[in-house]
Structure formats: C-alpha cells, structure tokens
Amino acid sequence: MEINKHYFDTVIIGSGLAGCRAAIECINHGTVGVLSKLYPTRSHSTAAQGGIGAALGNEEEDSPEWHTYDTVKGSDFLGDQDAIEIMCYDAIPTIIELEHMGVPFSRTPEGKIAQRRFGGHTREFGKAPVRRACYSADRTGHAVLFALYEQCQLKGVRFFQEFQVLDIVVENNAVQGIIAVNIKDGSLHVFESKAVIIASGGYGKVFKVTSNAYASTGECLSMLFRQGLPLEDMEFFQFHPTGLYGLGILITEGARGEGGILINGKGERFMERYAPTIKDLAPRDMVSRAILTEIREGRGIDGKDYVYLDLRHVDRKILEERLPEITTFCKIYMGIDPSEAPIPVVPTAHYAMGGIPTDNDGRVLRDIDGSVVEGLYAAGECACVSVHGANRLGCNSLLDTVVFGRRAGKAASSTLKTATKGKVKKERISLIADCVDMIRRSNGRETVASVRRDLQTAMMDKCSVFRKEEELKVLLDELQALKERYKDISIADKSNTFNTDLLEAIELGHMLTLSEVIASCALQRTESRGAHCREDYPKRDDENWLKHTFAFQGDKGITFKYKPVKLTRFKPEERKY
C-alpha cells in the first residue's frame, strides 16, 4: 500500500469561511495545508444569502451591546454569554477587515457598507427592528468566501482540493494529523501536523428537506465522536422558516427584512399573533413553529402544507438590487416572479447549533471541565462555542465563522513554537485503508441510496421542528435497524478513480452515527427551548435544563454529561417579541 505523506504546521479541514479565515491567520506563522472535498469556492458558505451581522451603525444607531442582548435572547438563553459578547464586539473590526480584504459589500449612498433588517435584530433591547445585517445583495456568503479564498491565494496557503478526510487521528489526548483520500485517483494521504483545525461545516443532509448542500454530511463530527470525544447540544437543529416549497432552497430572511410578509390560506398576516412587536422579523425558531402551526390547523394555502411569503408590495427595484438571487430562484424553480406572485414556502432544515465543543479560542474540549485535546481546534458550523445556544439569529453564522475562525487560527499559531509534531501510526493507516476497502468490496442487498433516503425521511418525520417522546423512541429503533441495513450495503463502483459511490457510502455511515446522537439528545432534553420543541414538554425549564448537553459514545450506547451555561449580564427572561 502506497501512502503519500505530508507535513504542515497546521492542517485545516474545510475551505469555507471558517477554514479560509483560519488559514489567513495561520499562514503568517507557519505552513498551512487546507483540505476540501470540493473545489474551494464551492463550500456551502457560498450559499449564505442575506448578510453578516455587526452593529456598525451605518444606517441607524446600533450598539454591540444590543447585538449581544439579541443574540442571548435569540439563543433562548442557552448561548454562553462570554462567547457571545466576544463575537458581537469583535463583529465591527471583523467586518471592517473583511471590507479591506476586498469583500464587495453593497453600499449606502455615502459609500459605507449598507445594512438591512433581519430576524431578531433589535435596538434598545427588543424595542424595534434595527438595520444590522451587512450584505452584498443576497450573495453575501459568496462575496465573503471569494474574498477570503483570494486572500489565501495571495498569501500562499496550499489547498488540497477534492480530498476527502477519512480519519482525524487523536492519540494520547493530542491530535497527530489526519488521513485522507485524494478523490481524483483514490490514493491515500497522511497529513501530520502540529495543529489541526476542523472547519468542515454543517450536516443538514441528515434531513430530507434541507437548504444544505449535498456535501454537508458532518463526517468530521462523527469521526471525533467515535473516538470518545463529546458532541455538544446536538438536539438543537435550526429550521429556516422560508425554504422553497418542495425543494428546501433557501429564501433569505433578508426578504422579510426588506418588507416581505408571511400570509396563510385565509390571507392573514399571521405573525402578528405570534410576535406582535417584530412580527415577520421574529427569530427563526418562532417563525418556523408559527408556519407549521398554521398548516396543522388547516390554514395552509388551499389547506395544503405551505404558506406564502409575499413580496408583491416590495418595490421591484429593491427586489432587483437587493434580492436578485432569490428572484432568480423563484423564476427558475417555481416559475413565478415574486413581484407578481407570492412564494410558496415551508421550513427547511438549515443550521446545526450543536457540534464539536470548543472554548472561546476554538480549542476542542474533551469534557465538561474545560480540558482540551492538544493541538485540535474547531470553528464555524461544525463547532459549538456556544454563541447560538438553542437558536441562531440570522447573520450570526457568517459572523461566527469569521470571528472564531480567526481566533482558532490565532490560538493554533501561538502554540506552534513549542508544540510537537504529530505522528500517525502505520497501524492506524492500515486500519483506515482496510475499512475503506471493506466498504468498497461490499456486495450486499441494500443500496446506499435507499438507506440514506429512509434515514432522511425518519429524521424529518420524527426529529424536526416538533418532537415528542414516543416518536423519538421509535426513531431510535429505526436508526438501529438502518445501521443493520447499512452493514448489508452494496457498492457498484469498485474503481479508484473519482469514486463518489464509495464516498457516499462512507458519508452515510457517519450520518447514521450523527443522527443517533441528535435523536438521543432530543429525547433526553425534556423541555422546549429555541429550536428544540418538545410537544410533550412545551415549557422552557430553566431549573433543570439551563445547561449544555455533552454526548459521549459509551460502551453501552450514548451517555450524557451537562455543562452549565455561562451567564454574565443577562438573566433568563420570558422570550417575547
């Protein structure tokens, strides 16, 4: 077996916003290799539409303190307030720095970065909506990703495109490196390093209807979990209220920020009943529940399972200038012009609040007491700092990636002088190579596609916006059965060259692991908070559940530990908008 060996001081997995921002930091201190299973500019970050939050105050008065409060409240008080404060105060220099790096933000008439309204962004602690979202039309993720990738190129970051990570090697409580396959020719590669930063993004593909890209399958989280490391707050998965009906393609919250409203089958603006102060600009968990409640109670459009997002009254010029991309999506995929017809929408699986637990500098935690894995960092959607708590506010995900991508890069770089070089043992490489070979040789009765489809359907039906005990228990049984079926899959493609059949099978194995973690965490949290809505426990229960879940792989199944939420200045209060 031929193994290609590489050494970089820092290895980064993922070339989205968090990975690229971390790379820009690290390249000033040593060698950097970035792996992506796609071509770099095709990361899911490119799909982020509406904006990136920062209290610049370019359009009206705003403050990082209000941003902090909104984020804490938006998180349903599960976000760690020290981390949130760091993010919201760092937001301003971060955006300015992005602008200097070349991000082509939309502009105010005076030439400053333009800002618009977004869900849950308010002034004076909830009094009224505020313009806080910095944007580049409705292609903000694309604009930021390109600029960061371009700066990486300028600084000489080395990219390994279309490399699929197979293993993140942690031994003796320290990261040693990673094992990956070059998708193009199937060759195995070992990357040893002093530091590894995981920036592998989200995992919405465990659900049937999602805004997430095909690539968002979450294998890096599963790789750590299977080694006994914890995952944090996995029960919290955000559904974005406005996915295109039947497709799940995102229609940015910026559409409501520019004046769009939601209407039900009776033509009512129903958000007035659910969030009287900020109505359609309420946070995503609330709007998603509101839409599904309307549908359940028979007030979907023509009694069917969707509502309308109405932009007909919004100035056509605003649609053209600020929402051109979603206008095109509506035309291409639904055959409608949003300035003439309302858009059929329904919530779509969108964002993982949970992930790899880290401290405020991206160091990966191995337990609830703050102990870390030497040399291992995580940032972006795959990580849980936690700044989003139980529900993430719009525009805070891009901000999170850049702020904590930089911090992780900085922290990783600061230890390079004293850190020891990792070493990946031969046995570990053989083990991985054997596993891959075994999957490649699979010749069972099941197909990857059928197991995956059943997994996605089961997760969607029983573990999405609304959850309850009996359904989650059934789901966990179904997941066990799916794991058995997975053992009996068959791989049609036996070749080495660009074997996506094999890669999808590997991804599916990890999706099954992650789904079990999500469902188990959802079952044990007997309260409703943010995106986690338990119909059998409809109230938030601060007395018992104002704490983070840490899930571990035990010998006899998943075990849980709990970590207190960091409260600094904002006491939990009833969440009304």
Binding site: S43, H44, T46, I96, H100, G111, F329, D493, F498
Partner: protein, 239 residues
C-alpha cells in the same frame, strides 16, 4: 405531471475501459425536477458507477456544470420540462476528462491564478471601511456574481484552439479587480492580461455570454478591459 425522459450520457470509466461510450437511461421525472435530479436518480437506482460532481443544487456553487443538449449549463439549474424527451449529456468540453462527467479543472483554475485574482492594496487601511459609492460598486456588480463553474471558458472557440488563452472567466476575474476602486494593482494586472494569450485574443464570439448560468455579459466586460488597456498604453501581444 411526471413523464419519462431518456438520458443519453457520455461515459468514460478509465479503470474499466480506455474508450468512451454512450449509455442510455430512462428515468421518470416530474416537471419541477432538474437534470441533476435525473442524474441522481440514475446513480441511485440504475448505475452506481455514474460519476458527476454536485453540491449546492441551486446554482450557486458551480459544481455541476456540464454539456446538456449541446450547451454548457448547470445541471441543478436546468429543469427537465424545458428540454426535449431525449437529454444528451457530456462533460464540459476542452478539459481533460477524469471520469464520466467529471473534468479536471486544474487548467481552468490556473488561468485565474495568472490574473492576480485578489484585491491588492498595500496602503495602510483606514480605521473604517474604504468608501465606495453605490455607482462604483455597480461597476463590479455583475462580475462578482461569477461562480467559476467553467461554462464560459470551456465554450470559447478561442480556448479550444489555444489552451494558453486566459479565457472569459479569468478575464472577468481581472475585470472584477481592475474596476474595483479599492484595488491598486492596475499596471501589474494589465501586464498580466495583455500578453500573447490575453485579452486581445477575444474575438467577441459571445459563446461565453450565451452559456453563463449567472447571465453575466462577459464579452462586454472583456471589451471594457480592452479599452482600459489601450487607454493605459498596454497594447502588447498581438500588435
């Protein structure tokens, strides 16, 4: 609402056979479904060896660019209802094929690298954002929507004849920075694009404009580059 389509797909499976062949698949799709959905269905239910790239599935990442009924398009943005019942699919032209519909885009990305594809400004940054008027931002607005899918460059007859030609995508990238008021590398970048295989090779054939999935008028941008180059005295290359 749903009906059967015949997908005629050009196959190349190098581990099996060094030559190409055409395979036909009949697949039932509804009117909302895209060519990408058809390909996924074929891979999932008929032939797991069928290989193509995909990711975002809604026209923002550029992974699934391929030749569909003779024209470069994104499979995720092409609805089957707008096509005839027989859909012919090939990899993007003029690039080496790795397998089936997957082409090696190294050469394509390498062209971008040549035009200094990043904002260059070594002046000490101001405390706040660099001011740029909406009018100035509008000058680069179309060019920043490029997703680098490769449809344009691989449809360009000049590129077919001259593999060294920078091509529409890289030239558009050069435009994106040359017309950004915040950039300071005008001379260097004009130097990079006005050589023998640069901007003067564009013969305004408009294939790039025809195929761009983001509807960017790339030829118009290249013409503006030519005008800027002349104005600044960079008339090298084909004199």
């Amino acid at each position: 609402m749903s009906k059967y389509y015949t997908f005629k797909i050009k196959r190349y499976l190098p581990d099996e056979n060094p030559s190409t062949r055409w395979d036909e698949f009949r697949v039932k799709l509804n009117s909302m479904e895209r060519v990408l959905d058809g390909l996924v269905k074929i891979k999932e239910t008929m032939d797991g060896t069928l290989t193509f790239r995909k990711s975002c599935a809604h026209g923002v990442c550029g992974s699934c660019a391929m030749k569909i009924n003779g024209q470069n398009r994104l499979a995720c943005q092409t609805l089957v209802k707008d096509l005839p019942e027989t859909i012919e699919i090939e990899p993007l032209p003029a690039l080496p094929v790795i397998k089936d519909l997957v082409v090696d885009m190294t050469m394509f990305f390498h062209k971008n690298d040549k035009v200094l594809p990043y904002l260059i400004n070594d002046e000490p940054p101001p405390e706040r954002e660099r001011i740029q008027s909406p009018e100035d931002q509008h000058k680069i607005l179309e060019s920043i929507t490029c997703i680098m899918c490769g449809s344009c460059t691989t449809s360009c007859p000049v590129f077919w004849a001259d593999k060294e030609y920078l091509g529409p995508s890289a030239l558009l990238k050069a435009y994106r920075f040359l017309f950004d008021t915040r950039d300071r590398a005008t001379e260097q970048r004009l130097e990079a694009i006005t050589g023998e295989h640069g901007v003067w090779r564009c013969h305004s054939i408009f294939n790039c404009v025809e195929v761009c999935p983001k509807e960017i008028d790339i030829t118009k941008h290249i013409l503006k580059l030519k005008r800027l180059a002349v104005k600044k005295g960079f008339t090298g290359g084909e004199k």
